[in-house]
Structures are given as structure tokens and as C-alpha cells.
Amino acid sequence: MLEIRTHLRARAGESATIGPETNITRDLGLDSLAIMDFIFDLEDSFDISIPMERIAEVQTLADLAKAIEVLQKEAA
């Protein structure tokens, strides 16, 4: 979660308040481009691929953390 937050902060700016329930698109004002770059950052950082269908299901930071956890388990 901390690692995701660091990447998100890099995209959304230092002043953004980011918690588990933060809605990534609605609350942080990230456009689709920024989101895509953020996803690429996460993929590199966690050494996973996040399929587009999974991204579509994610709304909050907690959703994302959960999705990454599942993907890491699947990969292991």
C-alpha cells in the first residue's frame, strides 16, 4: 500500500490526500493518461502485469492494493 501510495503521489502531487478509500480517478483528478503511466509504474515496481480488465474494476486505492495482491499470488 505504501509503495502504491508513493507512485500515486508522484502522479497526483505532494499535496494530495491519499487514503485507502481515495477514488483514484474522481478524487485525484488524474486523467486517463496519468492513470496509464501510473499503472506502468506499478507493473515495473511489483513485477506484475495488470490486465486491462482488472484495471477497469478498480476504483479506490484499497481496490488496487487488493488487485495487486491477487495478481502477485497468481504469479507466485
Binding site: L33, I35, M36, S49, P51, M52
Partner: protein, 447 residues
Amino acid sequence: MSSIFDKFAPLQEQHAALTAMGRSPADIVFEEIISPTEAILNGKRTILMGTNNYLGLTFDEVAVDAAIEALKTEGTGTTGSRIANGSYDGHKRLEEELAEFYGMRSAILFSTGYQANLGAIAALAGRDDYLLIDADSHASIYDACRLSDAQVIRFRHNDPENLDRKLKRLDGTTGSKIIVVESIYSMLGDMVPLKAFVEVKKKYGAYLLIDEAHSLGVLGEKGRGLCEHEDLEDDIDFITGTFSKSIGTVGGFLVSNLPGLDIVRFASRPYMFTASPPPSVVASARKTLSRIAGASDLRKQLWENAAQLYNGLKSAGFELGPTLSPIIAIRLSDAEKAIALWNGLLDAGVYTNLALPPATPFGWYLLRSSISAAHTPEQIALAVDVCTKIGKELGLITLSGSKKTETGKLQVNGAKALNGASEKHPFSTSEPESVVPTGAGAPVARA
């Protein structure tokens, strides 16, 4: 009262804002088409610099006559799909001619290039398969992914290393891996580093599909596109393409050398559930296609014209795409100035495409032009002149013509690969820039 259209408020606002600043690209209506490079717009003679009419063959006499003849003998339409209504002789002939042109076993005809991508990709990639697509893919490729039951993984634009990592993570899975790239990307005109992608594909036993929409007739000795130009045709599994650009009509296709391609017809909804191309369209496509291999004079002219526009705009100080190609885009970061430049050009009688985020890489505002072999040096010189004049008035370029950084910092990863792809560029007179935009792109797909 609420309306079903309320959800489109942001689109409505954008359209209204564009209209308020002059006109909206969607409202452009040409009253008269004079030639492949000129039309009448609001009573004014206008040079067309954004039509993808690369070889200028839309008025080719032989193709026009063949279309008229087909209209008279076979009628205005097929009124149904080939699965339901049967094929016309022309459909079969065109498919044979496409396969022969590419030197591949078989070809399948679709009603548009959009449908060719939709139909080919969605059918080829089934439930247990994996689609690996470039982040900057055309909308038809993104939509194909939605139609497909496969898992979709995006890789960074033109980044074979990123793809390599993603394929490595799929080690041990059994489904087919299908990589999708485009030869020339439609917004910036940058090219795929195909050789590097072919190496990755071979390493993992994946399939490679390339959309040659903007390179058919444009690249290669015989005009077969980037695969021919890079001498990589034996390593490509599938090629999709369109008749809506250099072929000058409408329609799309899938070609492959793999035995058994025909079955894709019965698994492809965009093939089965839409009407087949009308006889006149098929007739003109056949005539124009038959000209492509021998049209090296037109290709030479096309690349000379592209170089004139690219170098003209570049020396005026505009920021362009990374490599010379027949797609030449001015990159701007200021929305209002981009819109003003586009309107100013139209007022001066030059038509280009205005491309807005999120359909553009990096959220840039692009004035996209596509050059044609049919443009005259005078038309191109005039376009460069008015562009330079308006660019100076808007402060987009400085008076001395030196570069003013409008686009901010660019990422440079993948620069090596991209420059590699441009090395063998035919008739290229300009060195590729060292700073290459890669790494990102809109998830919503390019127009």
C-alpha cells in the same frame, strides 16, 4: 428535465468551446471536391493537407471507370453479409489479389479497416489467449480488445523491452500470445521498431499482428509497407490494412501466410454481421491495388513532399513528431493557440486535422497533416508559409525561427529503438530527432 444526453455534457462543452473559437472539426463540410488535394470550404478554395490520401489516387480514372461499370452491371450494394447472402465474384478476386500482392496464402476482406482490426483481433484471441497491445494503439485495436475474450495487457509505446518483461511473466501459461503493433502510428507518424519486436516475438513463440494502415503503398519497394521495407515479411503472422488511405476508397483486410486462415471468417462477428463491400468499391479497390506495386514514382514523390513539409515546418521552429513520415504533426501544449493555429490555417485556405487529448500522446494538442504524392511543391510551400506566419503571430515560434519549447520535457526511453526503425527510411533527408516521445499514450486509443 433530465435528458438521456446529459451524460455527454463534457463533450457538448468541448464542441461548443471549439465552435466559439472558430469552428469545430466535426462541423467542417466541403461543398465541392476539386481534386485529391483541393476542395471548396465555405466558398473558399482550400488545400487539403489532412486526408490520408497518400498517393492521391481518389480520382484515378481507371478506378473511377471500373467503379461506374460495376455500379451499372452489379448494382449499388450487396445488401447483406457474405455469410448470409453469398459472395460476389469481385470479393473473391480481390482477396486473391491481396494474397498475391503480399505473397501470402490467404486474405479476408472486411467492410472497413476498423472492422478488419475488430474482426481479426477479436477472433484470433480467444478466452485462454493473451493480447499484448501497444499503449498508443488505434481505437479499432482497443475496441477489438473489448470484443475479445482474451486477457489484454498493454505495453509501453514502441518499447520491446517492456513487452519482453510482460511475455516473460506469462511463461508457463498455455494460451496463444498475440502481439499487436502498427507500422506508422497515426497521430505522430512515428514507426514501430519492428525488428526488435520480431526478436521478442520469436523468443517467446508469440504471434505478431501488424496494422499497416498508414504504410500500404507508402513504404517498401513494391509498396507492401513496413514489413517489406524492413525485410521482415517472413516473420509476421498477420497483417491488417485498410483501403481508406492510399487505396482511396473504403474497406479493410486481414492477410496471413498461416494455413487455415479461412476459418476466421466464421468466428468473426464484424465479418459475419455486416454487409459486404459494394461492387463499385471492390472494383475501384482492385484497380488501385493493382497499381501499388508499380507506383514507385508516386512513392518517391510522396516522400519528397513529406520531406519538404517536415523540413519546412521544422526549420520554422515547430516541434514535430520524431521521424519524417507522410504523417506530420505539429505538437503544441497550449490548447487555445493550437485551436487558433488550426482556424487560422483554414482561414488562409489550408485544411489540417486538429487532434485533441485524450486521443493524442502526452496530452498534446496536435495539428496533424498527412501529405500526398499529389501535392505540388507550391501547395506545400504555401502551407509552410501561412503556418509560419500564424505561428509567429501566436508566439508559437520566435521570429528568428529558433525553437521555443512548447511541449515541455519528453521522456527519452525507447529512443534507440525508434531511431533504429527510422534508419532505413526511404528518401529521408532529415535526421530523426534525438528526443523521442515514447513511454506513454492514451488508454482511450488514438483516432
